[in-house]
């Protein structure tokens, strides 16, 4: 118990989606992040309709320089970079979300089971999680991708299998705390079945945290896909942003001085990851409010002129 003097505004109620939206609006970081993501997602989703040129259409020389017609120049096949970026974002986002879905499904299930049932189930599941955590992910991804062969499906599964542990831990902690709440105990006492309790009471409370975790996981998934593509283990038939970078690297873009083939795709990936980090991080912060006030900082308390209520004695 600290001598906190402010009547701290109570933590937001987690029941409505409106509350989440309100949290987002109050937070500039979340706002910027969401804007970035929405813009990129829009371009990615509607890429087939709004891309300026064809994805496989050569419109100029290899590594053509940026110009008014092609603001980001051309790649190693003479294809317009803006088109490539849009389609690339589309594939990267698809992979990111798909892999995240896999990891959420596994991690969420494990987390709920471990947190809700506790005891032996919990111990076993957590041991398994610990062992998965210990495995260094990049090498494992490389090995599995190499053994299984490069295809979008395999990549998604591999990434998903490695990312679930983080989700599992977070969800488990939250489920444990929710389980102890009065209304859950009451429901149990009334004889409600486990499934009903989980669906009606536990999940709604866990959902916001799950969403925050999802957003952050998408960032990692996209990064992992980029890394795999760069190492030549990505799906050769699809052009993700990681593949764009890899292509440029392989075709000696750097020595040709064609920085526009390498810098923009990576910058786009960085923006996506940044957007996800901002949104996911803000959501997590909002769900775990720090009620304590710093006693110390570079600023000090301020003074105002005398008020005078006329009753000083």
């Amino acid at each position: 118990m600290s001598s906190v003097l402010i009547e701290a505004p109570t933590a937001p109620v987690l029941t409505r989606r409106g509350a989440v939206l309100r949290m987002l609006r109050r937070n500039p970081a979340a706002l910027i992040g969401s804007t970035i993501l929405l813009v990129i997602a829009f371009c990615a989703v509607f890429a087939p309709l709004i891309a300026p040129y064809g994805l496989h259409t050569q419109v100029g020389p290899v590594f053509g320089r940026p110009s008014w017609k092609h603001p980001v120049g051309l790649d190693d096949g003479g294809i317009d970079m803006v088109t490539l970026l849009m389609w690339g974002a589309r594939v990267s986002l698809i992979v990111g979300f798909a892999a995240t879905f896999v990891s959420m499904a596994i991690g969420g299930t494990v987390g709920v089971l471990a947190g809700y049932f506790g005891g032996k189930v919990d111990t076993i599941l957590m041991r398994i999680t610990d062992y998965f955590l210990v495995i260094p992910d990049v090498p494992l991804m490389i090995v599995v991708a190499a053994i299984w062969g490069p295809s979008l499906f395999h990549i998604v599964i591999v990434i998903g299998i490695l990312l679930w542990t983080g989700t599992a831990r977070v969800i488990r902690a939250q489920v444990k705390s929710v389980r102890e709440r009065v209304y859950v105990k009451r429901a149990r006492a009334l004889g409600a079945g486990h499934l009903r309790i989980v669906v009606r009471h536990v999940l709604p409370q866990v959902a916001p945290l799950l969403i925050a975790n999802t957003v952050l996981t998408v960032a990692v998934a996209i990064f992992d896909e980029t890394a795999l593509s760069f190492l030549g283990l990505g799906d050769p038939s699809r052009t993700s942003l990681g593949k764009v970078i890899e292509n440029a690297f392989e075709r000696a873009a750097i020595s040709s001085g064609a920085w526009w083939a390498i810098v923009p795709p990576g910058a786009l990936v960085a923006l996506i990851i940044l957007g996800c980090s901002l949104v996911g991080g803000s959501m997590e912060d909002a769900l775990n409010p720090r009620l304590r006030v710093a006693h110390l900082s570079a600023r000090t308390f301020r003074l105002r002129p005398l008020v005078g209520r006329g009753d000083a004695l």
């Binding site: 600290s2 001598s3 610990d130 062992y131 210990v134 495995i135 260094p136 992910d137 990049v138 090498p139 494992l140 490389i142 090995v143 190499a146 053994i147 960032a219 990064f223 980029t226 890394a227 760069f230 190492l231 030549g232 283990l233 990681g242 970078i245 690297f249 750097i254 920085w259 390498i262 810098v263 795709p265 990576g266 990936v269 960085a270 923006l271 990851i273 940044l274 980090s277 901002l278 720090r290 304590r292 006030v293 710093a294 006693h295 110390l296 900082s297 570079a298 600023r299």
Partner: protein
């Protein structure tokens, strides 16, 4: 000694984890579909004698159970097999690769810790000012950049001034100690810088968070009440407590950094463990892969243990 059984418990857990990792390693490489190790026809230039010798060494003609036992026995003797690619013992290859990776990784980590701590403290200290926003944004920005892409960017920027590939200049013949040292230093700069930049952001956020948490503690108010100057309070009371989670975080991430260096070593052609893994994958050099994998897993377990014990040692509040 305080908490002797805590130490013993954690060490025992670590050993068990290593054992599980070893077994998983075996399962992954010997039992996985494709059973690549048994496909000796993939070994380039394999003479029938070599194939026979390998078959015997790995007991590939025996049952899986017997193979497992042989595998364990060999591990205890430090025999990780022979690399398909250069026909050297895997353990030797790994040792050389590790020696190459460590200085680069340590340098980068040091950079990240120092810059991260500085920026984290500043961000917490100047809470609510544009300085904080700037510090946090740039930390997040660098943290979001794909490692290999950042490396490529640095290559583009510094192409003329610093060497961008390899560990040494192969054209130097019989260099003196100082020339050799300067050459190494020049080559190590960009890879470590890349690593440092990608890592520091996370430390900034952690230090800032820990610092804010600490600055809200009651004893900070007491220190203020005693009449101490603000910066003295930060230095003497807050910093020590705030660095606690950082110390353990650093120990933890060291375990993973070695693995993460794969991307950097590929971009800069650095002959380290990351590159070794990558090359082994490309060349289907399964003994190398298996050995490297095991080494990386053990390093993670090891550093996790270090982190546990470090936290225990540094915080006198934890009794058991």
């Amino acid at each position: 000694m305080r908490g002797a059984d805590y130490v013993i418990k954690r060490t025992a857990f670590a050993l068990v984890t290593v054992f599980v990792a070893v077994t998983l390693n075996f399962a992954l490489f010997r039992l996985a579909p494709g059973s690549a190790v048994t496909d000796l026809s993939r070994v380039p230039h394999a003479t029938p004698e070599l194939r026979q010798a390998l078959k015997k060494q790995f007991g590939l003609d025996k049952s899986k159970g017997a193979q497992y036992v042989i595998y364990l026995k060999q591990l205890v003797h430090g025999n990780l097999g022979v690399s398909f690619a250069n026909e050297q013992p895997v353990s030797t290859n790994l040792r050389v690769a590790l020696i190459n990776t460590l200085p680069m990784v340590l340098l980068g980590t040091l950079f990240a810790i120092i810059i991260g701590t500085l920026t984290g403290v500043i961000a917490a200290w100047r809470r609510g000012t544009p300085t904080e926003a700037l510090t946090v944004t740039s930390a997040l920005g660098f943290y979001s950049m794909p490692t290999h892409w950042l490396g490529l960017m640095l290559i583009i920027i510094f192409a003329g001034t610093l060497p961008t590939g390899g560990m040494t200049n192969e054209f130097l013949i019989n260099p003196s100690f100082w020339t050799h040292f300067r050459d190494l230093a020049a080559h190590i700069t960009l890879p470590s810088l890349t690593l440092g930049l990608v890592l520091y952001g996370e430390y900034t956020l952690i230090v800032r968070s820990a610092m804010l948490e600490t600055l809200g503690e009651d004893y900070i108010l007491t220190a203020r009440a005693k009449g101490l100057k603000p910066w003295t309070i930060v230095r003497r009371h807050a910093l020590r407590n705030a660095m606690l989670p950082v110390a353990t975080l650093v120990a933890l991430s060291l375990g993973y950094i070695v693995a993460g260096a794969i991307l950097i070593e590929t971009v800069f052609s650095w002959p380290g463990i990351g590159r070794a893994v990558y090359d082994a994958v490309l060349q289907r050099d399964y003994p190398m892969l298996q050995g490297a994998f095991l080494l990386l897993t053990i390093s993670v377990v090891f550093f996790n243990l270090v982190a546990d014990l470090l936290y225990f040692k540094l915080d006198p509040r934890i009794t058991e």
